[in-house]
Symmetry: C2
Subunit: 374 residues, 2 copies
């Protein structure tokens, strides 16, 4: 079966253009126009910004990291304080991941069994067990609009046999997550399969048969060549059930988004715009500015004269931003973060218009021509 | 002679109540109601906040640190980019200090002579000479509305002889600063004298005879007991020329401001509200909240239910702020900084009203009763 199951949750495609689609994801915390980019609020904060500033970038859904919030401040505490929306004052839609990816990549002494992950917290060394049921229980306490199933994400370069094993485990956990879901929360399944398109397609069919509210592609951008990712995406994305939102996890650069939207993806999340901002890297349509570089020492121009973000429109010069960055001033991290998220917000907004107007191929071509090669 | 000299600069007292006064300081960048608190923008940024957020706390004048900006990014560069107002996008009034205090406290291998300070930059070890003329030249390049004379600020606990020597040197430099001033910039003299009220009064007369646009009290809050400072202030502040603004440098807590306004002070600056915020300390009328404390773990209340700052009015709970602080999230530094500066903004606004309405003593008594002892 297919189609949304959770109350207050719906997805409707309004227009398609090639494989690209534009539509609206309806959640208990409002509508999200798609394609959409979800800024990452790892620990209950999209780093450096207020909720109002995040929303001003056009974002109408953010991602929270279950692993981080589970360990600190604890999901029970968040629930006691009214859930992650009330706790963080974010009024729009929210999605939490399952915690599996961070349990895999951040935790210490991690072991994987049929039952889930057992690991030591990277914060205090405490022993934790992340089973499918626990992932759903913790996400239920956090109370986002959308929860993700627990999955096994094999590292880039894994053998076909390893990937097949991860796919099988992910499917078994998909059933267990759906059985232990909170009834009023949407749940997305996660299609694995690495760079093996046939495994991806088979897994998409398998999970598509389950009553998930959406389908994600996990296990991309884990070290494989970017061209390989796009090649597999072009074969797989448009084959995911057209009735449900398609979410490409952890991807990517602006150009990655442009290409993946063309392949049929509706939702993205990535730390790139926020993390790179804190490393002093501003993203432009035409490339990147590494603000600490000496070439900006006396540059009176804003980051991007075309941009209407709070950083570019308030007249902050590259020279001032460079000074703040070298002086260790927090303000510059805020300004570049807002700038970068505005670029992502603009990108998906322009993509939506282009799809509606049947000119997505032209939009994508123009974007990719202007962008510097990754 | 007395009275303001710089074009576009004026000071008018509208009401007095005991020694307390309220009035308006007019500058080329707008009017500043007094008493006023100047947030400190050390390196060209009131740490963590945008200019609009600083202005929203009620501040209409900020302080920039000449020492820091001279060393990085350099006063010539700031001038080339239009001066400190244009560089930092702060549209209201601005004052720069002389750089002497930081040359004294931060620099390496510092030597003091009749001609000024010679020291090594704490950033790159480069040799710098800060003479009265250089202090005025650098402040002229920065282009704030108000420049401060170079002074000698003896450490707390200095002998009468040492303080007398500093006073004499400061007077000599006062003349040299006035001779090398930028004509369109206001300049304030700095009265020294440590905790010796008679030296302070004599120095106030001496500098009051010079064509300074305002008079400051330097060398307080340098280690002396706080009661001693207030005792000396009560003897000295109201004796500074009543026609010119009186500025108490580097002070202090909210209660210090309340007492010093009662003694006749018009202007303050202090890093306390901003620095303490970054250490997780929120200031309330009734005391302080150290946000990392376990008692706030599940506290759903805002920092101060009485407060209308962006932190308290947006519903951020103490529990959330504590979580952000422990998790190292930048957002909490912004929120508490804004909260603390709002308290200072409110304090001086309420003091102005109380003075206008002839009830300053009552206002001060009520404030000091509610405040926790320092």
């Amino acid at each position: 079966m297919s189609g949304p199951r959770a109350p207050g949750f719906a997805f409707k495609v309004h227009a398609t253009d090639g494989h690209a689609r534009t539509g609206v994801l309806t959640t208990p915390h409002g509508d999200v126009p798609t394609p959409t980019f979800m800024p990452v609020g790892t620990q209950g904060s999209v780093k450096t910004l207020t909720p109002a500033e995040v929303a001003a970038t056009g974002a109408r859904i953010v991602l929270g990291n279950t692993y981080h919030l589970w360990l600190r401040p604890g999901a029970e505490l968040v629930a006691e304080l009214g859930g992650l929306h009330a706790f963080t004052r974010w009024p729009h839609a929210m999605l939490t991941d399952s915690g599996g990816f961070q349990a895999f990549s951040l935790a210490e002494r991690r072991t994987l069994s049929d039952d889930g992950f057992v690991f030591r917290s990277h914060l205090d060394g405490s022993r934790r067990a992340l089973t499918p049921e626990e992932a759903m229980r913790v996400q239920g306490l956090l109370g986002a609009d959308i929860a993700m199933q627990l999955d096994v994400c094999p590292p880039g370069g894994s053998s076909r046999q390893e990937v097949e094993k991860a796919v099988r485990q992910t499917t078994r956990w998909a059933h267990r997550c759906l059985q232990s879901r909170r009834e009023d929360q949407a749940v997305f399944g996660i299609v694995q399969g690495g760079t093996f398109a046939d495994l991806r397609l088979a897994h998409a069919d398998e999970l598509g048969a389950l009553p998930f509210d959406g389908l994600a592609l996990g296990g991309f951008s884990v070290g494989e060549p970017i061209e390989t990712m796009h090649e597999v995406l072009s074969q797989v994305a448009h084959k995911l059930d057209a009735e449900r939102p398609r979410y490409l996890m952890g991807v990517g650069t602006p150009s990655d988004l442009v290409r993946a939207i063309g392949a049929g993806i509706d939702m993205f999340d990535c730390v790139l715009p926020t993390r790179n901002a804190r490393n002093g890297q501003a993203l432009l349509r035409t490339g990147r500015i590494v603000i600490k570089q000496a070439r900006y020492r006396d540059d009176p121009r804003p980051l991007d004269p075309e941009c209407d973000c709070p950083c570019c429109s308030e007249g902050y010069s590259r020279a001032y931003l460079r000074h703040l960055y070298l002086a260790g001033e927090i303000l510059v991290l805020r300004l570049i973060t807002a700038h970068n998220l505005h670029l992502y917000g603009k990108l998906v907004a322009e993509a939506r218009s282009a799809i509606s107007e049947g000119r997505y191929a032209e939009f994508a071509k123009r974007w990719l021509e202007r962008a510097e090669p990754d």
